[in-house]
Symmetry: C2
């Protein structure tokens, strides 16, 4: 096992009704005025906005609304929000939504205290030395952003989807109430399942140092996601399944299954980021297309690990059978497995490949993911 | 799943050579003078004391030595150390050792800032409102104390082995270097294996609310302990096995496998605490005797979970076969499975049972663990 530091200071408040604590939580942290980030007006229609503002008012927390954050969040919106945060002199950022809103909130929190343009923090020109404290109420379990310091944002001008991460951008408190996720659409449920599985397998398959304990933990997450997704497709109101799905999602990306592993990369995310940046496809939908295509190209490099996956996830014998089983499972739950299902055709490949090759430099794996490799993977996905 | 709060602010520094960071770590936390707690003089003979004091000196950290802390640590020693901490006005406590030293350090840290007698904090008369910061260098992986807020200490006068826990007693930083554990004796390795398995199964079998995700995580820990113990018995110098064993031990008791479960208890620990308090047997050795005996009495209450255990841990079919397999595995690795191996005879049972019944009140499960139940379990262990 490699040497590592594990530190995760985020407090998770998990369960029914926990969103009602938000005013108290902010007051406990000495917060007086927040930037209240959210996505669509759905939170106003379904009552969550009212619940949150009632709690804020009860504790005398002022707020400035910043709605309209979209999936695959964009840097222009982050810049706009930073201007608002500065103008109104907020002393914290609250995210109410899924990973896109939370990733934006982290970016806003860091960007507000950074002197230059916030994109510098993404492309390596600048460094995060401080950030406003971030709090969140999660409404979609997928990104795992609620218990880590990362944030992924798209630059619409440069067509880049890049990430930040820093000890300063862990949420202080994340509120995870599975009830708030019971109205997630069927599509977003299955995209989320693909996203969590992607988080679990990137290190699992690519790490040069991958202890068996870590593989077992990743398998615990994947098996839980598979089982609870099937339950939720039958009964979206099954609270326990929703809760296990959400908690597995958190564990997939809070550092637990990566601590002590080494030499791993995120090839599926790298490729998918280009699909999101160029075609604005949902992140999880892009992943469920890329994962089997990538696996078909990659499995010969890690035959034993793919055999493990086949055995402990699907109860089949060979790497190839494991990959087929995953692809069939994606088909069964209704998340795409072909680029054509995303409206991407062979004509789109050259521009897509060019964008991916740019990502490969940023992801530090350009030596592996060069032209003919990326082409081969995308052709597997046609 | 039950509602829960998950918060674990301990920073883990894991890997080779990490103990050399201790001076820097303390300096980063503004510490000037520490109470340096340890057990036997072994750390002076094997060079660890020199490594630590060199690092302390380099960073100008003063220290007051408090050696001689024994396994099954005792409250008289904690009281003595509190007097030293006050006299020398230390502003932190450093533990260099295993769970006994660390549990003592936490108790000292809390007791130093408590106005009354420290045992009040154990028996419920007092409350922990503050504690000196605790740091540790772990030399034995078993207790899991390095990433939680708990501490267990024995009162020699009252023959009680009780626990404290508080948001104030999480270690700030725990240094876990598997190399320091390579000289652990064969006996203490197998006792430790039994201890970690005990931490993993208490909730696994007793929880009224036990999500399958949590069962899978517990099984990942148990399977890792079984596999790495066997490797280490053949080759104590196998670094990777030592590292996986240690990290599994940390995960077993840092809250991960309990968050969201409900209605669980620690019957095996409750019974074992009496064996330690009365006969000073090693904690893990007591546990490996009690666990199979308890399982034989208990399994009918949770047949499905015992079937899961049989299947996913030992690949056998029935609850009874699973229990037999565990007992045989304990025999195979050489940790006791009979009271007689601990030197405890039938004549000792009345006093033992009386002590356990006292614990049962403190553990809050006196309604289940009454006279004839405890008698039946101990008779299974004769």
């Amino acid at each position: 096992m490699n040497n590592f530091t594990f530190f995760n200071p985020t407090r998770i408040e998990f369960g029914t009704g926990k969103e009602q604590l938000i005013g108290q939580v902010l007051a406990d942290h000495g917060v007086k005025k927040i930037l209240f980030c959210y996505g669509s007006d759905r939170i106003k229609r379904d009552g969550l906005f009212t619940t949150v503002t009632k709690s804020l008012n009860e504790h005398g927390i002022q707020f400035v609304e910043c709605g309209g954050i979209v999936s695959n969040p964009v840097i222009s919106k982050v810049r706009e929000a930073i201007a608002m945060a500065r103008e109104h002199q907020v002393n914290a950022v609250l995210s109410v939504g899924g990973g896109s809103v939370l990733d934006s909130a982290k970016s806003i929190a860091a960007g507000t205290l950074y002197q230059g343009d916030v994109w510098d923090l993404f492309n390596g020109k600048g460094k995060i030395n401080a950030a406003l404290p971030v709090f969140d109420i999660l409404t979609l379990a997928a990104a795992g952003s609620e218990m880590n310091s990362g944030a992924v944002v798209t630059n619409e001008e440069t067509r880049e989807k890049f990430a930040i991460g820093s000890a300063h951008t862990f949420p202080k408190v994340s509120i995870v109430n599975p009830v708030l996720m019971q109205t997630v659409t069927r599509d977003y449920l299955v995209y989320s399942a693909a996203d969590i599985i992607a988080h679990s397998i990137e290190g699992y398959f690519t790490a040069r140092v991958q202890p068996k304990f870590h593989s077992r933990m990743a398998e615990a997450i994947i098996n839980t996601v598979i089982e609870t997704t099937e339950t939720l497709l039958k009964n979206p109101m099954d609270y326990d399944a929703r809760a296990e799905f959400a908690w597995a999602s958190t564990q997939a990306l809070n550092g637990l299954i990566y601590a002590g592993t080494g030499g791993f990369s995120y090839p599926n995310h790298m490729i998918e980021h280009s699909l999101s940046a160029l075609f604005n496809v949902p992140h999880g939908a892009g992943l469920s297309v890329i994962i089997p295509a990538w696996m078909k190209w990659y499995h010969g490099r890690k035959p034993e690990q793919f055999q493990r996956f086949a055995k402990y996830i699907f109860g089949v014998d060979t790497p190839e059978q494991g990959i087929t089983a995953l692809e069939k499972w994606f088909d069964k739950i209704g998340t795409p497995t072909r680029l054509s299902q995303l409206g991407i055709t062979e004509d789109d490949l050259p521009a897509t490949i060019e964008n991916i090759l740019g990502n490969a430099r940023w992801f530090g794996i350009a030596d592996i993911y060069e032209l003919n490799v990326v082409t081969a993977i995308l052709q597997n996905a046609l």
